[in-house]
């Protein structure tokens, strides 16, 4: 069928099942936006208030739906603004498709108005990118882009489309399949390796499974749970693997790492065989991989062969898609019992005791723990970056069906509100609970307008310590208390700020207001904000 390339781009999105896009317009992408208007009943276009937030929202949407999702920006500044989101998605292997406008083909390379070499600038952070020079290539490129973003180890793909290319007329038909001779991710595991893994797990006295974000990328939670249950193997998680297991699971021992919990780190230290599933052993998760690799049989399961042996030496590598490989493994294993080992780890589980909070504040960990008890089980918790992230990761007690999202690899402040927004739009029936700090909130609060405009119900929790708390703590511990540039004086009254957007808000300063706020957060699904006043010196752990 003959149509404009921009209309064809919209048809491509429809063919990929896209019903929501997050965009910010400008001259160089106007033909595409114009074509989107014709399909506004099929594809909602959400006008975010900053391009990076469009990328983060697409990321939240993609993580909940499990399919690549779309953000759009204009050329030059718009495209460059998107880079933070692209890099954030890349670090966590989240499939997003970034579509950018570009100056007209004949202007490329001339430093034209709002020209930026975005494919060049984003190269380190994309799984792949395209600069479309021939409009006839659009159907193939879009088909490939969605396939590449969502398959193998997922990641962001960028499509840069010059404005004249958008206006060209093409003969459109969407390809049924992709053929990329140089891209064939390994899905099934090597049979002999699977057998070796089964044997190693069988022989282990103190086996342990450590899961990472890969279990979500490959939708393998059920398989890991089965393996753990059948073989009676305790499980720990990286920050990216949180919520595959929940805090009611007998064999779950929490998050590993510098900011992890004691039971998880002890489990990693004391195990004799460690099965890593879709976890890349980042430096925040495992500080001393050498020590671990010497004392432990390491089995590394990952879809990306480059992750195997990169950060930690491996005894048994197993390349493949976690879901498929675990299914293969499940055929090889038999029920086991590790009572002694599990009992040993139980000793490290201690109920939290909270110190009495300073007047006018509450303990952030206690607040989050109490809140988690009240929230619906299937709440999507989205944590920002900083102390608030660790408080959320370690104190929010997940129930079955809960989901936890955060920017793990890049640690991008400002991720949580747009991500929670995207998550809510992807799954309107789930509560979206966002937790951030007073620093990070000020990097993203403009998205409250987007929430209001499109009626997106996010429960916003801002932890106010008047500090860039995580950095404050680092300066206290690592720089002899020489605190610099961590004071957030001049912050607005967040309750009044929310009111300015017409968003109901309340402040927590004591037990009474805490209980009231928790009731409200756990209650009716609506857009609201709670500011929690916490001690400026409250520790992360």
């Amino acid at each position: 069928m003959k149509m404009s390339a921009s209309k064809a781009m919209v048809e491509c999105l429809k063919a990929e099942g896209i019903d929501t896009v997050y965009g910010y317009p400008g001259a160089a992408i106007c033909p595409f936006f114009d074509a989107l208007l014709d399909e506004e009943n099929t594809i909602r276009n959400i006008l975010v208030r900053h391009e990076a937030n469009g990328g983060h929202a697409a990321s939240g949407f993609a993580r909940m739906r499990g399919t690549p999702q779309v953000c759009i920006a204009t050329s030059g500044p718009g495209a460059v603004n998107l880079i933070t989101a692209i890099a954030t998605a890349y670090a966590d292997s989240i499939p997003i498709i970034a579509i950018t406008g570009q100056v007209a083909t004949e202007q490329i390379g001339s430093d034209a108005f709002q020209e930026a070499d975005i494919t060049g600038a984003a190269e380190p952070f994309v799984k792949h990118s395209y600069l479309v020079k021939d409009a006839n290539e659009i159907p193939r490129i879009f088909k490939e882009a969605f396939y590449i973003a969502g398959s193998g180890r997922p990641g962001p793909v960028l499509i840069d489309v010059p404005v004249d290319v958008q206006k060209a007329m093409i003969d459109f038909s969407y390809p049924k399949s992709v053929k990329i001779r140089s891209y064939k991710p390994t899905i099934k595991g090597n049979f002999m390796q699977v057998k070796r893994v089964a044997k190693a797990l069988k022989n282990a006295k103190r086996p342990l499974i450590c899961i990472g974000g890969g279990v979500f990328a490959s939708n393998a939670c059920e398989e890991v749970r089965k393996l753990s249950e059948i073989m009676d193997i305790p499980v720990i998680t990286t920050m990216m693997g949180i919520s595959c297991f929940n805090d009611e699971d007998r064999l779950f021992f929490g998050m590993i790492g510098t900011h992890g919990v004691k039971s998880a780190n002890a489990a990693a230290n004391d195990c004799d065989t460690l099965l890593l599933v879709g976890a890349r052993v980042g430096d925040r998760a495992v500080k001393t991989p050498l020590a671990l690799e010497e004392s432990t049989t390491i089995i590394h399961m990952d879809i990306d062969p480059a992750e195997i042996g990169k950060n930690i030496g491996t005894d048994i590598p197993l390349v493949g898609n976690a879901k498929d490989v675990l299914s293969q493994l499940l055929e090889q294993v038999e029920p086991m019992k590790h009572d002694e080992w599990v009992e040993h780890l139980e000793k490290y589980r201690k109920p939290r005791k909270f110190p009495k909070a300073k007047k006018g504040t509450v303990d952030p960990r206690q607040f989050i723990e109490k809140l988690s008890a009240a929230m619906p089980a299937d709440t999507t918790v989205v944590a920002d970056v900083g102390q608030n992230q660790i408080w959320a990761a370690t104190s929010y007690k997940l129930k079955p069906g809960g989901r936890f999202l955060t920017s793990g690899g890049m640690g991008t402040m400002g991720y949580s509100l747009p991500c929670a927004m995207g998550a809510k739009m992807a799954c309107p029936d789930r509560t979206s609970l966002q937790i951030c700090g007073d620093g990070s909130f000020q990097m993203q609060f403009m998205e409250m307008a987007t929430c209001v405009q499109y009626g997106v119900n996010v429960k916003i929790v801002v932890m106010t310590n008047n500090r860039l708390g995580m950095v404050r703590e680092l300066q206290d511990i690592g720089f002899n208390g020489r605190k610099v540039s961590v004071f957030l004086d001049g912050s607005p009254d967040f309750v009044k700020l929310a009111a300015a957007y017409g968003i109901p808000a309340m402040r927590v300063t004591d037990t009474r207001s805490m209980n009231k706020a928790i009731d409200a957060l756990a209650g009716e699904d609506r857009l609201m904000l709670v500011e929690v006043c916490v001690d400026e010196d409250a520790p992360t752990l």
């Binding site: 060049g120 140089s182 480059a306």
Partner: protein, 163 residues
């Protein structure tokens, strides 16, 4: 240790920058890089000489393989392949030195491709070590200018990069 890495890539614009970017961003040292078309016009072949331990080279190979447009990566041990590099070298040569330089050319199987009153331009195609030696032989005369293509390599016997 030096490693010879051969890479088959789709002949698209931008591929070379993806590859060179990957090396610099991951801190891999490239000693030389040569690129050109193959028997298939859609495919280019890049030969990279990189410095690093085995772990580094393994990572280089794996990271290269992740690039969508990379079709095949293979690293060769020196004993498995034949490697050549082309060099053009302009050396100071007054009339009385010409004969000596001609002798060097004869022994090293290089060619004189240009001559002026006070310089000679030589062409040599050989393996890396021989080029090093060639340069050292000519240094005493005064090297005016030198240009090299970077090493290309092919496997011995019936083996090919795609098997």
């Amino acid at each position: 240790m030096k490693h010879t890495i051969s890479v088959l890539v789709e002949n698209h614009s931008g591929v070379l920058s993806r590859i060179s970017g990957l090396f610099s961003r991951r801190g891999f040292n490239i000693e030389s890089l040569a690129v050109g078309p193959t028997e298939n016009p859609e495919v280019s072949r890049i030969t990279i000489i990189a410095d690093g331990d085995d772990h580094t080279v393994e990572q280089i190979e794996k990271q290269l393989n992740k690039l969508i447009e990379v079709i095949k990566v293979k690293s060769f041990r020196p004993s498995d392949c034949m490697a050549r590099e082309l060099m053009l070298l302009k050396v100071s040569a007054t009339a009385e030195k010409r004969q000596e330089i001609m002798t060097i050319c004869e022994i090293t199987e290089s060619k004189v491709i240009d001559l002026t009153v006070n310089t000679m331009t030589l062409e040599i195609c050989d393996k890396y070590d021989h080029l090093v030696k060639f340069v050292s032989l000519l240094e005493p005369y005064g090297i005016v200018e030198m240009v090299r293509t970077g090493t290309i390599a092919i496997q011995r016997g019936n083996e090919t990069i795609t098997k």
